[in-house]
Amino acid sequence: MDIGDTPEEAAFRAEARAWLLEHATPAGDHGENHDLADHVEKALAWQRVLHDNGWAGISWPEAFGGRGMRPIFQAIFNEEMATVDETLGPLTVALGMVAPTLMRHGSPEQQQHIGAMLRGEQLWCQLFSEPNAGSDLAVLSTRAELDGDEWVVNGQKVWTSLGQFAQWGILLARTDPDVPKHQGITYFLVDMASPGIEVRPLVQMTGTAHFNETFLTDVRIPKENVVGEVGDGWSVARTTLTSERSSIAGGKTGWNVDLLIEAAHIKGVADDPVVRQGLARAHTQATNLRTLGYRIRSALSMGTTPGREMLIMKLAYARHWMETTDLAMQILGAEGMLAADDEGLRAIWPFAFLNQYAVRLGGGTDEVQQNIMAELGLGLPREPSADRGVPWKDLPR
């Protein structure tokens, strides 16, 4: 057991830090830029800088343009990148989800996209969720029917992050309604410029339109854009979703607590014992997250895949985030509820406060995660499933 870096890791970290300090141009907004188009453009530009300087695809195989290093080095780089407040957030779907999926399941032609992602040339979005397929994604009803060499897709998707800016999307659609819900789903790559795709931004109460509804009407997708086998989309999608969880490793923790301590000093309440109690508790939560991060980094360093740690991290992070935003309101008082204006203390907290429940939903609700944990950690049986083995077309609607 050694919680510190190995000499090799330490050298890499030092090199990364030095380069970042020289080249990073921090956004100063902890990734919450209200001008989304600008946010996307900055992320793509930053990815190009990383690529041109050899910092892109650190743990990707050399065959795909990466450096072929172990995942721990990517985690170390991400950690250091977080300290300079640069973000690749908008590229999460491309780099964290699509690329790993194509590496494993894609055809050689499909894998050509990987290089474009690496070079910061493509923004991707995810067309999975539907209005009636949330936690129970597998009941999705968007249909794809083969017509000659093309699939014709009709349906509606929701929560398409940054769909209004994306060039490409990954899409799940039902190609066989006569088999149980997890079967009969196929995984497609779709050009977002295809005729029949309409992306409608959903304005959220935070004032941004991060998400969209996407309507697909007779959208034609070439056969070559099927990833994996027809009808095997669920297992391809699992690769995508698992990769998403892994991509959260290596962020930094505690920066929000540091900001709160600063805010408490500015507002003159750093001596308030109740505020201090809250700050201390938030700090202990950040410590939990940090040490969970050690386990994840350790697994990556040893070349294994951290599983349960990822799930716990997600839950612990959501709780921590809700408590710190509450504490922020306690420190800022009524000022905290004035709409965000990018000035000083108000730059982040009101947004965070309104958005706090979102961290409990994204990537699976708390409840779904807890069910997984009860099964995985404690061996408790699943709830009896009402729809096992029932053909999708016969499910109750």
Partner: protein, 375 residues
Amino acid sequence: MNFDLTDEQQVVTDLAGQLFTDLATPERVKAVTDADGFDADLWSALADAGLLALCLPEESGGSGMGMVELALVAQQQGRHVAPVPFVSHVLAARTVAEELSAVPAAAAAVQGAIAGDMILTAAIAEVGVNDPLNPTVTATATPDGVRLSGEKPAVVALDRAGKILVPAVQDGSTVIALVDPAAEGVTVTPLSTTNHEPQGHLELESVLVADDLVIRDPEALDRLWLRHLAALAAVQLGVGEGAVTQAAQHVSERKQFGRTLSSFQAVSQRAADGWIVNEALWSTVINAAWQLDNDGAGALEDVLSAAYWACEGTSEVVLGAQHLHAGIGADVDYPVHRQFLWGMQNSTILGTASSHLARLGKHLAAGSDVGSVDR
């Protein structure tokens, strides 16, 4: 012992409920919020129904009712998140009527307030640690009257107010001045608030107020503040009720894994939690209002209890309702997010949950009169 509503209280409740249901529809609320945040039609209807005169003295043309009735109407407003400055207006009008009705200018303001022609407001929130009982505005006696200087944050409906009650300190005593926003030295800056309620920042630079428009009763500010806390708690109660109602409907309709969401214990129990908080808050809010009607300042502990749960409990309730709505809850075209925004904003406006506890704790431990938010 009778905790049931009187017939008269039931009539007021039904009347308000009907008005808000008919006029403050989700579509209308969205339209008004997207515009200037003030529903003039609803306001007229409230005036026509006599609800703006609700708890004003009969001598001033009011109905002579009290805080319980005000709370019942405020609760209905909260359920519909109706965009009108009901609480601040009625409470300001009541204070002016009670304390200054002998002065023609003030009496005229009360009449305007009852008719809905003039909007009144009270600048209760304070800069800094937000301790409304320790105003930071200073008042200085001059031969012409009193001159006020200082600032007040987050004044409700400041942009369209005809008169503003401004607490201040003069020679160590607390006073409340009735300020005309058109007077020289007054600067009004609109604020963009999270729930889109029109608020403003008020700056006063040596603003002159006639001596007879200054309330000098040393207990007037305590009273005004406690009434605001109780009335806002009633709004919160309604906000939470609206959130739970919408959440219960959503989870009863939405299916996942072949079952309605509500058939999952984790879901139904969370919804039940919200309902329980609301039910407990109802008794506590109505009790606080009743104590104010019957005891005045002696109701301090009960009002602070209501204020605390209106912050802490209702925050939990609206968060829970958002969670149960999942993604759709954040869509501004879907109404439940308004309950969330109101619930969250009201939880900070007259102090946070923590500051209410600080005050109550000081009071309980030290046996002092009011306590302060300063620990």
